[in-house]
């Protein structure tokens, strides 16, 4: 396997322009001779499907939801970054580029990140033209707010529903192309495998989730826009249906999987309240501006929080990080919360939670001010927990919510399988070891609107229309494999439900490959996961049949892939013997508990090649070269 990043030569700021000129074009009249399959209709997939159809390509778009509008991009709250410098506060493309590279702890590709910053401005223009109702000032211009990891105000937002509004923009553009006949949309269809013909990705096999039909689709290229794999932890802020299957199946067919251990844990989520918990809900990080985080000083202090006097409270972030206090960065605050809970000082019924207390802020600023700032968040919290945060401290705990790792792609967003392109959260490219707030929406739309429509043309122009149909023997073969797998799942007829296996895997991943990792724990996980997987294939209970809607069967297929993927994540975490960004190896920290990066040995992307189930995958390396920024240590002091 060769990892050729295909980064264009020349100065950083000119690479993308030069590359656009160097790429081959397809004459408008010939574009209709090419068909692309796009899996996933979130910001990346929806934007790509619409933009490519507008150019004249035929698009087959797939999503597992009942509408393209329901992809999980819709849940993003905060905003989208762009280097517009509308606030005249010194922002620039270069600054957005630098903040993103630094935020990613110097583990991303300079050229990709620079291109992202360059097209960020076009994204905002495009979205406004589509009718996205961004927040405005009284003068009629766009409003901005500031976000973590930046000292300028460059975040555009639509109330607390920015992801929803951007997705509706892409979805509407997509709907227009469906009406025009250029996009054929398959909702409630799940991709179950990838089909390669002569080494090139030329199609997929799907299951119609209503009828159970296993269907094959052929095209000239396949684009995966299938999001992240945070649900490997079972509990995460992802939607219930988010899964790794499409990406994992592509990996099994030969696509390299890059940096799977880079998973971001968000510090402020509503904690787990019981064994029945199905997902976790994020509370905006902005709450930490006025809330103070604490736990009781002693274990087994079961008093009501309001009855615990000041001297018995431990404001551990303020104590450990006096200068940053409650605003310590995401990874630090997440890990500290875990530490105090591990010591037995966690709060709430399950002991996995810490208080986020607003009483000081309310006394200082008045209830009205706090309500103006956080009213909707307080309401959301009360709806879920039944507690009133104005009078009782909130309880929060970290949760998995974004994955920086993904399928390896080159500068053209093409994976190691020719013709297989990967965009949005599904690829690994732009966030390095840690993603900054308001950058996920930016990357999804950049890939979908402004990168893939160009780079796919270059691939098409070089290969020509394939003329392959689903009659090709490869399609028959993969179709049968998919069918066999489903038959197998339905025939085991064991005793344990799918969810019990998923929870068991989630616990192992969270315990040993979650917020902090160490060698012994990862090795333990690598022993435990294959055992769970074995038991799954012997004792899972999947009811019903294939020929109807069958939600247990859908889940079973996804969990089966997570049970293999979890092992890959642990291998990556084990072999990356340094701490960087969201990947914290306990062996590599300073006395104060800060991450210690090892640029000498690990300034690279680790891309894994599948070698067989239960076998150790093969690790390949793409060295990262920093020509424009200096590698520095992130400091929080």
């Amino acid at each position: 396997m060769k990892l050729e990043s295909k980064i264009p030569s020349g100065p950083l700021a000119e690479k993308w322009d030069k590359h656009r000129f160097d790429m081959k074009l397809i004459n408008p009249a010939n574009k209709r001779k090419f068909t692309a399959i796009i899996v996933g209709t979130g910001l990346a997939g929806g934007a790509a499907a619409a933009s490519m159809a507008e150019l004249g390509y035929n698009v087959l778009a797939f999503c597992y939801q009942d509408s393209a509008r329901r992809a999980h991009s819709i849940a993003a709250q905060g905003g989208i970054n762009a280097a517009k410098n509308y606030q005249n506060d010194g922002d620039s493309i270069w600054r957005l580029f630098y903040d993103t590279v630094k935020g990613g702890d110097f583990r991303s590709r300079e050229a990709n990140v620079y291109r992202l910053a360059q097209v960020s401005n076009e994204i905002i223009d495009q979205c406004v033209a589509q009718g996205v109702p961004f927040a405005r000032e009284y003068g009629g211009t766009l409003a901005n707010r500031s976000f973590g990891g930046a000292q300028v105000s460059r975040t555009f937002y639509a109330r607390g529903q920015t992801g929803q509004q951007l997705l509706l923009g892409a979805y509407q553009a997509l709907s227009r192309q469906v009406a025009a006949g250029k996009v054929k949309l398959f909702t409630r269809h799940e991709m179950l495998d990838l089909v390669l013909v002569d080494g090139h990705a030329k199609g997929i096999v799907t299951r119609d989730m209503v009828t159970g039909n296993i269907e094959s689709f052929a095209a000239d290229a396949v684009i995966l826009a299938t999001g992240g794999y945070g649900n490997v932890f079972f509990l995460s802020t992802n939607a219930k249906g988010c899964n790794v299957t499409a990406n994992y199946r592509a990996y099994r067919r030969g696509a390299a999987f890059a940096n799977p251990c880079y998973t971001q844990i968000h510090p402020t989520c509503i904690p787990v309240s019981g064994d029945y918990q199905s997902k976790l809900t994020l509370m905006s990080e902005s709450l930490r501006n006025d809330g103070r985080i604490w736990v009781p000083k002693s274990k087994d202090d079961n008093r009501h929080p309001n009855d615990i006097p000041e001297e018995d409270r431990d404001y551990y972030l303020e104590r450990k990080y006096p200068s940053f206090g409650n605003l310590a960065p995401r990874d630090i605050s997440s890990r500290s919360a875990k530490e105090v809970c591990d010591e037995g000082r966690g709060v709430g019924e399950t002991g996995r939670g810490v208080y986020l207390d607003f009483s000081d802020a309310i006394n200082r600023l008045g209830k009205q001010t706090i309500e103006d700032r956080y009213g909707n968040l307080f309401q959301m919290y009360e709806r879920i927990t039944g507690d009133d945060p104005y009078t009782v401290p909130m309880r929060i705990y970290p949760a998995s919510h974004y994955t920086m790792g993904g399928l390896w792609v080159d500068y053209n967003l093409m994976s190691t399988i020719p013709g297989l392109h990967v965009i949005g959260e599904a690829n690994f490219s732009d966030h390095g070891a840690n993603r900054l707030g308001a950058s996920a929406l930016m990357q999804g739309l950049a890939d979908g609107y402004f990168v893939i429509p160009y780079t796919i043309g270059d691939y098409f122009a070089r290969t020509g229309p394939s003329g392959i149909t689903t009659d090709h023997p490869e399609f028959k073969k993969v179709h049968e494999e998919v069918h066999g797998r489903i038959e197998k799942l339905l025939s085991i007829n064991g005793k344990r439900t799918v969810d019990t296996f998923h929870r068991e895997l989630g616990n192992v991943m969270w315990e040993y490959c979650g917020m902090s990792r160490n060698e012994a724990g990862l090795k333990k996980a690598l022993e435990l996961i294959p055992r769970i997987r074995e038991e799954f294939w012997e004792d899972v209970k999947v009811m019903g049949d294939n020929e109807a809607m069958n939600q247990s069967l859908e889940k079973a297929g996804r969990v089966a892939d997570f049970l293999e993927f979890g092992e890959l994540m642990c291998w990556d975490a084990l072999e990356r013997d340094e701490s960087c960004g969201a990947h914290f190896r306990e062996e590599h920290q300073t006395e104060e508990g800060e991450a210690v990066r090892n640029d000498k040995d690990y300034c690279h992307v680790a891309a894994w090649e599948f070698t067989g189930v239960g076998e150790k995958p093969k690790r390949h390396v793409e060295e990262l070269e920093f020509e424009n920024v200096e590698l520095a240590t992130r400091s929080y002091k």
């Binding site: 076009e122 495009q126 109330r159 019981g274 029945y276 439900t497």
Partner: protein
Amino acid sequence: MNLTLHVWRQKNAQDKGRMETYEARDISEHMSFLEMLDVVNEQLMEKDIEPIHFDHDCREGICGMCSMVINGIAHGPERSTTVCQLHMRHFKDGDKIYIEPWRSRAFPVIRDLVVNRQAFERVIQAGGYVSVNTGGAPDANAIPIAKQEADRAMDAAACIGCGACVAACKNASAMLFVAAKMGHLASLPQGRVEAERRAERMVAQMDAEGFGNCTNYFECEAVCPKNISVDFIAQMNREFMKSSWRRKRK
């Protein structure tokens, strides 16, 4: 707490369907309604009964996937709340709960509580967009938009397309859904350009799908999890009248 559930079970679109009764044991007040159903489903599977199928995804009230009528009310008893954000503390031990799918000719049942909402898709495809291609857009600040206009557009754009408005309406009217999209786009200069054409086409598609008409009961507004105002229906009617009047003059 322990509850008795009466749940609509229907194997597929052809099946006639019926209510079935199940006991829900040891339900915690902190569970969401869907988590309660998860627990019930695990219990059913232990007894070799196939789990209750229902649509859900984000479970944080924004994707619009979840859709069920609880004790006769779309999304259940809490106002401005999707089913996934409804919690069991609003019920008490011994309660009988009736759970049904959205009921409307335009939303045929796929299985149990899962319905087919493709009719909404076709209404959006008929004109629920601004006709611009990717690329070449003017600078985002080129056209100033008054804050109150942008806010009004956002009020309408908050619609999650769940279909509760249709399920609650005795006419199975989709007017709140359609009006929300038209109101969102017509409130902004970018969408204003084709507002009349959009009104004509979306209304025609809405009728073709078999949705009923509005007779001003406003049940839709009462169950809308995003508080979309029926004012947008008035605006839609105005837009539609204008466009049909103009068409007649031609």
